[in-house]
Structure formats: C-alpha cells, structure tokens
C-alpha cells in the first residue's frame, strides 16, 4: 500500500461508530425489556431507567448516522492515513501481546519481567539504542516501579516464574 493512502473517510467512520451505537442501544433496550422496564409491584423495575437510556442512544445515534451522510467536504477527508495507522499499530499490537503475555490461560509471565521486555523492544525498534543503554534504562525503570509499588506502597502486581526466581511470588 502507498504510505499516504487513506484508511476510510471520516464519513465512513462516522457511520460505523453511529451503527455500533445503534446496536449497543438496541441491546440495552432489549435487555431492559427482558428485565421489565415498567412499574412492578413495589415500584420501578430493574430495567426502568436503562430502558430510557437505551431509547436515548437509539434516537441520538440515528441522528448522528443521518448527519454522517450529510457532512460535506469534511466527511470526504481521510479518517486516518496509512502511515499514521501503521504507527498506531506499532503501539497497539505489541501492547496486546504484552498484556496477553501477563494474562493468558496457558503460561503467564510476571508484570515486571514482561515490562522490561516491552520497554526494551521499543528502545531497540524505534529508538535504535545499543544493548547496554537499552538494558540499563528498561531494567532501571522497572526496578524503580518495583520499589515504589511493591515495597513503599505495598500494592502487589502479578508475578511469574522470573519474579519467583528472585524470591517474590
């Protein structure tokens, strides 16, 4: 793909968001109706308040959807360019991998060890730092966090095999 190619217009994304809102609003209305959205024996039922919230969502997002298609020049502008999206993905994809490494049903690593790798990864990839600087900064930052959270404020974070090797489990 070309580096400055647009990924969807503003109008397309406006429509996508408005439709997502519509679906969400429909779920709210449907679930509130299931719970009972009227007056029970002892007062308003559980779905009484959310039902109207859902109705408001439906009304507002219908208008937003209509306005998305009536937007002129701004609607045709690019929502995000491919080069920008690539930058965003270089943050989102590793972040998802990072969280998945700490929290998965198979083999979970600790917060601290994964964070060291996470910071080091960006320093190597985007910053093009040497190994020594990378390790000093990433390990130093996480040790500082460890002291602050685990020791000073006694807020425990999830730990894995590597942290256990240091005697913290």
């Amino acid at each position: 793909m070309q580096p400055d190619k647009a990924v969807g217009s503003n109008r397309a994304w406006e429509a996508i968001v408005a439709i997502t809102f519509l679906v969400f609003g429909a779920i709210v209305v449907w679930d509130s109706h299931r719970l009972g959205s009227s007056w029970g024996d002892d007062g308003p039922q559980a779905g009484y308040f959310p039902f109207y919230i859902g109705v408001f969502i439906l009304v507002a997002s219908t208008i937003n959807l209509v306005q998305a298609f009536r937007s002129g020049a701004k609607g045709r502008e690019a929502f995000v360019e491919w080069g920008q999206l690539k930058m965003i993905l270089t943050v989102m994809v590793p972040s998802v991998v990072y969280v998945a490494a700490i929290d998965n049903p198979w083999y979970s690593l600790g917060f601290y060890s994964t964070s060291v790798v996470f910071i080091a990864f960006y320093m190597r990839l985007l910053g093009k730092y040497g190994w020594i600087k990378t390790i000093l900064v990433s390990v130093g930052t996480i040790v500082a966090f460890f002291v602050m959270f685990e020791i000073w404020f006694s807020v425990p974070l999830p730990k894995g095999p590597l942290e256990a090797a240091f005697g913290y489990a």
Partner: protein
C-alpha cells in the same frame, strides 16, 4: 466568621511535615504528569489512586490521601501551561487557549515572561476559587442538607444538561456519549432488585465497568495514539527562567488587573457548572480580546493573552471541587476521579461530609491554599527540569507510559480483565476524539450513573411515577427549569441570533 475558625483547624491538620512532604511530592508528580503526553490530571490521579488505599486506612490518613491526590491535580494544571508555551502542545484541553499567545511569546524569545505570567495568573485564579470554596461551600452544604431525591436528581440533570448546552460540537454526539456512560454504569448487579443487568452470563461483567479504567484507557492510551499520529518528535523552545525575568514580569502583571478579575469571575462561574474549565479558558480569552485596548495584538504573543485563559482555567479547575464536595456532583473528569477516591476510602461526598468529617473537609481546603503556594514555587524554580522531560525520546517515554497505565488499571481491582478493558477503552478514546465525540460527559455519566438512577427511582417511588415531582416545589422547579434552559440553549441562542440578525439587516 465560623469558617475562619474551621479553616485554622484545617491548616493545623495540613501543616504537618508528612502532609507538606506529600504536597511537594504530589505537585512534582502532577507537573510531570501534566507535561507527559498521554498522562493528564484525570488519568494521572486515577493511576495513582490505588497507592493511597493503604495510606487511607491509617487514622487521619484520608486527609493525607486527598492532599496527595488534589496536589497532583494542581500540579497537572500548572504543567499543562509548560507544554503549551514551550512546545505548542496543550497538555490539557483547557491549556489550548494558552497556546494562542503563549507559543508566539516563546518564539519571540519571551518564553520566561509567558511562563511566569501563566503560573502567576494560574495561582491568582486558583486562590480566588479557593476563597470562594472556603466561604460558599458551607452555605451550599447547609442548604443541600434539606435536599431529597428529587432535588438531587434535578442537580444531576443540571450537570448533564450543562454538558449538552455548552458543548461546542454536535449536541447529539454529546448525548450519545453521555448515554453510553449511563448504560455502562448500569451493567452488573442492580442494587435495588439484585437482578443482573446486561451481563449475558459473562461473569467478569458482574461487577460492572469501573470508571477509573475508562479514564485511564480513554485519556491515557487514547491520547498516546493521537500523539503518535503527529509524529515522534517534539520541537520546543528552550526554557530559561531566572529571577530577573520573573520579577520583571511580576512588575508588568498588575497592569492586567481588569482582565484578571474578569477571568476569575468567568472561571469560577463556569467551574461550578460542570464541564466548565475548557469553555471558561476560551470564553475568558475571547472576552479579553474583545475588551482589551491591545485586543488587535492578541494571537501575536502578548502577555495579557496568557493571563486571561490561565486565570480562568485554574479558577474553573479549582472551583470544580465545590459541587463535588458539597453536592457529590463533580464538575470535571478529574474532580470525578477525586470523588471516586472518596467513595473508595469510605467517605460519602455531599452535604453530610461537612458535618460528619469537618477535619477532612477543612484539611483539604487548607491544603488547597498551601498546595497552590508550594506549586507556584516548584514550577517557577524547576521549569527547565520539567521541560527536559519532554526531550526524553518518545521511544522510551511511550512504552513507559503504557506500562504505567497498565499498572494503574490492574491495581484498581487487582484484575487483569481491567487491563484488557483499558486497551479497548484506549481505541475507543482515539476514535471518539477523532470524530468529536466528547469524553468528559461519558466519564461523568459512568461515575454518576448509579446515583442518578437511584435518586430518579426514589423520586418516582415518592410520586408513584409522576414526573411532576420535579416541579413539586420552588427549589426543585428552579433547578429543573435551569437544566431545561441549558439543554435547549443551543436552540435558544440560534433563535436569538436569527432575530438579531434580521433586526440588524432591517436597520441597515
């Protein structure tokens, strides 16, 4: 002068060495948070909130905890000005108006003057707002003691109508975002009937959505993604601030006393009404431009153009705590996070707080005076240090901020599911920001959703389902009318412009 006595008691609490150290730490952390991209007042306080859990359990600890958190807030308010003036990046939405004249001043080599003017006028704005809180909040709290469910619901209504009425963008997007917040707040166990709402058999949804996670994701991760679009480099003016520049600027500042007073009034009024800090800074800048003798020079780099928005933003940011303390209705997302902190520590914000926990309330108010003095000294002396933070390469800062956000999200409930949610909210925040869906009403609705629903249900029970209860007496009727006026104010002002436009044309 009963208030003064209570305030002295508050100073007694706040002036311990431990609390002063916390103030210094809070302000410093706050400025750093305000300077860093992706971290701001709201999510900075949200991330650091879990740190206070163990502190708040000690006797008298809640006062220390709120001092730490509120000082982070003041620090973030100060920090926003640094990035606006030196880097043309508004650290907070309410510093946008500061860039108009602050950045050109920096380009002209007068960054020092701009910074001094910004910090000093912030301080003045905050001070006036704290004075207002000192004398007005006991009155409002006393008044609110008589409030029943309909009155409280009408105050919530006022809050949310104010968002719709004062939003710059499409009111329908504001409504959609706000209602999304209410709907997310309803997920989980219904407190009245005990039924499960919108959980669809998924057990992690039982406890519902915590707004702290939403704040960290929407404002933290979302902001990082937006910053990434702009590229990785920050180009800024060098920060030099010595005593001579400070004193020279201080000599110049009294000339703008009219602008200052006007901005204080605008700021305090807009701050008490929710969602006010950002519109207050713009409004105050606009007014100053219109009414100043140098109005035509605004935008090219005049000190007065920095004084106006900064005074108003700080006055509004501070007075946003007034409705939070007295009514339990926060005026800004950061005030909402502070309110969340109070609830977690086991304090019930609202009028009873003043009678039941006077130590806490007056300790907090006294710490506002002290915190702003400490803040002014810290920022005036340490600007180069804080500006240096922005020179740390993005490839280091960005992953560190993601790690901080993840830690913050995890520690709220010790749950990894929340960290996943944070990522989802991050993408949502990015898309919403790009399409002009406002985030503040979403967050506030998420915070107040349950309380608004409870007061609505109780009102409905009292009246057996008649909406006329919101016009049952003068008080509730006035608030409801005000809300509706605010809600329809975009329509009213459009009609007004149309009438005036027609008259102007016919008189030509």
């Amino acid at each position: 002068m009963h208030e003064l006595e209570l305030l002295m008691g508050g100073f007694h609490t706040a002036l311990s060495w431990f609390n002063l150290a916390l103030m210094l730490a809070g302000i410093t952390l706050g400025v750093i948070i305000g300077v860093l991209p992706g971290l701001g007042g709201a999510n900075g306080v949200a991330i650091l909130l879990p740190l206070t859990f163990s502190m708040a359990q000690r006797p008298g600890g809640t006062t220390s905890a709120i001092i730490l958190l509120s000082c982070i807030y003041w620090g973030a308010l100060f920090g926003g000005a640094i990035t606006s003036i030196l880097f043309n990046i508004p650290g907070e939405p309410w510093s946008v108006a500061t860039t108009f004249d602050g950045y050109p001043l920096g380009q002209k080599g007068r960054a020092g003057a701009a910074l001094t003017a910004a910090f000093t006028s912030s301080f003045v704005g905050a001070l006036v707002a704290v004075l207002l809180i000192t004398f007005l909040s006991p009155v409002i709290a006393g008044f609110a003691l008589e409030f029943g469910p309909p009155e409280f619901f009408s105050v919530y209504l006022l809050t949310f109508c104010a968002f719709v009425g004062m939003s710059k963008g499409s009111p329908w997007k504001t409504i959609a975002a706000m209602m999304l917040g209410f709907a997310l707040a309803a997920v989980g166990i219904d407190t009245v009937t005990g039924q499960l709402r919108m959980t669809f058999g998924i057990s992690v949804l039982l406890k519902g959505f915590d707004f702290l996670i939403a704040v960290i994701g929407l404002f933290g991760i979302g902001e990082i993604l937006l910053t990434l679009e702009e590229g990785l480099e920050f180009k800024g003016t060098a920060a030099k601030l010595n005593m001579r520049v400070v004193l020279e600027t201080w000599k110049e500042l009294p000339r703008y006393w009219k602008t200052s007073i006007r901005s204080c009034i605008v700021g305090c009024m807009m701050g008490i009404v929710p969602g006010g800090a950002t519109p207050a800074s713009f409004m105050s800048y606009g007014l100053a431009k219109k009414m100043s003798r140098d109005g035509a020079k605004f935008g090219t780099g005049v000190v007065e153009g920095v004084v106006a928005p900064e005074t108003a933003a700080h006055a509004a940011g501070t007075s946003a705590l007034l409705p939070m303390l007295t009514l339990g209705v926060p005026g800004s997302p950061t005030a909402a996070v502070l309110l969340g902190g109070l609830l977690i520590w086991g304090l019930q914000p609202g009028p009873l707080l003043f009678t039941e926990k006077p130590d806490f309330v007056w300790g907090l108010i006294a710490s506002m005076y002290l915190g702003n003095i400490v803040g002014l000294i810290v920022v005036l002396t340490c600007v180069p240090l804080f500006a240096a933070i922005l020179r740390i390469p993005f490839s280091i800062i960005m992953p560190v901020i993601v790690v901080i956000c993840a830690i913050g999200a995890y520690t709220v409930h010790n749950s990894m599911f929340d960290v996943w949610l944070m990522l989802v909210f991050g993408v949502m925040g990015y898309v919403f920001k790009k399409l002009d869906y406002p985030l503040a009403p979403l967050v506030l609705a998420l915070v107040l959703g349950d309380r608004a629903e409870d007061s609505f249900r109780q009102s409905m029970l009292m009246s057996q389902g008649e909406l006329s209860i919101f016009y049952a007496n003068k008080l509730v009727g006035t608030i409801t009318t005000l809300s509706l006026l605010l809600l329809f104010s975009p329509l009213i002002s459009m009609a007004w412009d149309a009438i005036r436009g027609r008259r102007a044309r016919s008189s030509e």
